[in-house]
Symmetry: C2
Subunit: 337 residues, 2 copies
């Protein structure tokens, strides 16, 4: 497309690195952030790729995130590792706790990682895929800011509360999904607003709690969860598991903590890993085949497994050694350098 620009894969990394270092992130944080931004951009996940550098740098510019914070890893129980991000981004804390987490899951059959006191801007799928790459199934959850109304409610209480899951497949890309429990992402509503388009029904309510299709009224009001009262219940579960369970903030508390400042929200994250080897009684191969029959039956009827578009984009971009991003995005990013 004419309004796109091609960046080599090296340029993606260099652009991200230079912006992050310029803004005061330590080399360690810079690398952990660039790794995840690169992974998303490689898969054409534009919303969580280079675009996220704006949110990422905003939080340090406004004096919120600590760009040099070193995480503290705490071995708090045989099957639990806690990583205190100490007001830094979550990613370095995740990296620091990952080896212990994997070992705990493979020793105990199941384990939990809790990240505390972190700023969070990143997609969850790269994290659960790093765990499934070790042969484990993984679930990750985070709250956000209280933009989403519970079913039957009139105002924002819940976060967009994403849920990510990854299942290891022998010799194949994992089965992975990563979705917001809000019907729409907040950024999608912004896009409708910019395009002057009405929202679909069932996505948002206005400040009075009435259904609305007006994007600005939705931004002033609240978003709705996906799937009605079931999605709402799931979102509350995520608040509890990624908040009070691990001694960290709910989306309401995270929003209050930010005091209206823009940038990434501050809260916790929980990740659960399950070991197919120990849980299946050492029958991984036959159960991998069983899962493949399930996937085959889904694909055979013309349905799509989640993340397939992402894997196709990755293959294409790796082959080309480059990605395409909007020229305007590139020019805006250069201003951050």
């Amino acid at each position: 497309m004419a309004d796109n620009i091609t960046l080599s894969l090296t340029e993606v990394r260099e652009l991200s690195d230079s912006i992050l270092l310029k803004h005061g992130f330590s080399p360690e944080h810079t690398q952990s952030i660039t790794d995840i931004i690169y992974a998303c951009q490689l898969d054409d996940c534009h919303s969580h790729g280079l675009f996220r550098l704006f949110m990422c740098t905003e939080s340090i510019r406004s004096g919120q995130v600590d760009g040099a914070a070193l995480p503290t890893v705490i071995d708090s129980a045989p099957a639990v590792v806690k990583a205190n991000a100490n007001q830094g981004y979550s990613l370095l804390a995740f990296n620091a706790a990952l080896p212990s987490f994997i070992e705990k899951a493979k020793t105990n059959g199941i384990a939990a990682m809790a990240i505390n006191n972190c700023y969070h801007f990143s997609a969850l799928w790269p994290e659960v895929e790093r765990i499934s790459a070790q042969g484990l199934a993984a679930i990750a959850m985070v709250p956000s800011h209280a933009w989403v109304a519970p079913a039957g409610g009139t105002r924002g209480t819940l976060g967009t509360n994403p849920l990510a899951f990854s299942w290891p497949r022998m010799g194949k890309h994992p089965f992975t999904f990563d979705f917001a429990t809000s019907q729409f992402a907040r950024g999608e509503i912004e896009l409708y607003k910019r395009a002057g388009k009405p929202l679909p029904e069932g996505v948002a309510i206005d400040a009075q709690g009435n259904p609305t299709t007006d994007p600005q009224a939705a931004l002033d009001g609240a978003m709705l969860t996906f799937g009605g009262y079931k999605g709402s219940a799931l979102s509350i579960m995520i608040e509890l598991l990624a908040g009070p369970l691990i001694d960290d903030l709910t989306s309401l508390e995270s929003m209050a903590y930010a005091q209206g400042k823009p940038g990434a929200p501050y809260h916790g994250e929980i990740i659960i890993a399950l070991d197919p080897l120990l849980l299946s009684g050492n029958k991984v191969a036959s159960n991998d085949a069983r899962a493949e029959r399930l996937f085959a039956d889904i694909i055979d009827q013309g349905a799509r497994l989640p993340s397939q578009r992402r894997y196709a984009a990755r293959a294409k971009n790796l082959k080309n050694g480059s990605v395409e991003i909007p020229r305007q995005l590139y020019e805006d990013l250069l201003k951050l350098k």
Copy 2:
């Protein structure tokens, strides 16, 4: 209501016990089944109360479930307990593994229970509530039969795959939900058929994979998941975690195994317990207060927490010392005695 009959709480137990013993269930299985049927009936969960005795007895009459099977509990990893139901109902296996499961969760911070080779007919909320009564958060998942199409699909592949969650609240009933990941329960479609009413849009497809509101066409075709592609992804996750992860059947395999016989499906179940004490770093009280502020904000805007109707019914029925059930149901149950 004129077509209802009042049964004392003792009569509920006696009716269930006598029907189960008459059909050849051992005293141990009888007690574990009656306990759960009683718990559901006490909460006016009619679909999983005494009504379930039909499905329960059907499976033994058709020579499927073993009414005297003794479960085998296997300590398969430090944080995993597996319970082989040995072709019996799941409940006795759950009971047998529960003490070890609770201890493992409280020692390790998180634990998994896998029930294998079980017939399953019961609601999941009584199980997660027995765990939250011990101060733990709990998640339970089971597959069923392949009646539900994946998003974008044309035929049944997934089960109704319920997800249940319970969170312990200090001095209060827990926060609990238990919902099918299908848009409707199968029994609901039967009810629409009997009432000669069309289904709402988005609930089912016919045998050709086209949307239908005709209940019979839906029963011949497939149901849809709640929440579109997100609900579908969640349902696939449940297939994987409660099936291949624990070396047990998917809903497709369970349906094939039944060879068209009626009664309860045969498959596995997974339950995860998380310890707020270890995961919060011993800050249970302050985090209970944090969760309560979340619940208060939900209730304050007129939204309802899940299970509140159930708790109200329980209080009313306990006060009365009795429950009301349809007279026709009672008369049909007497024929099973």
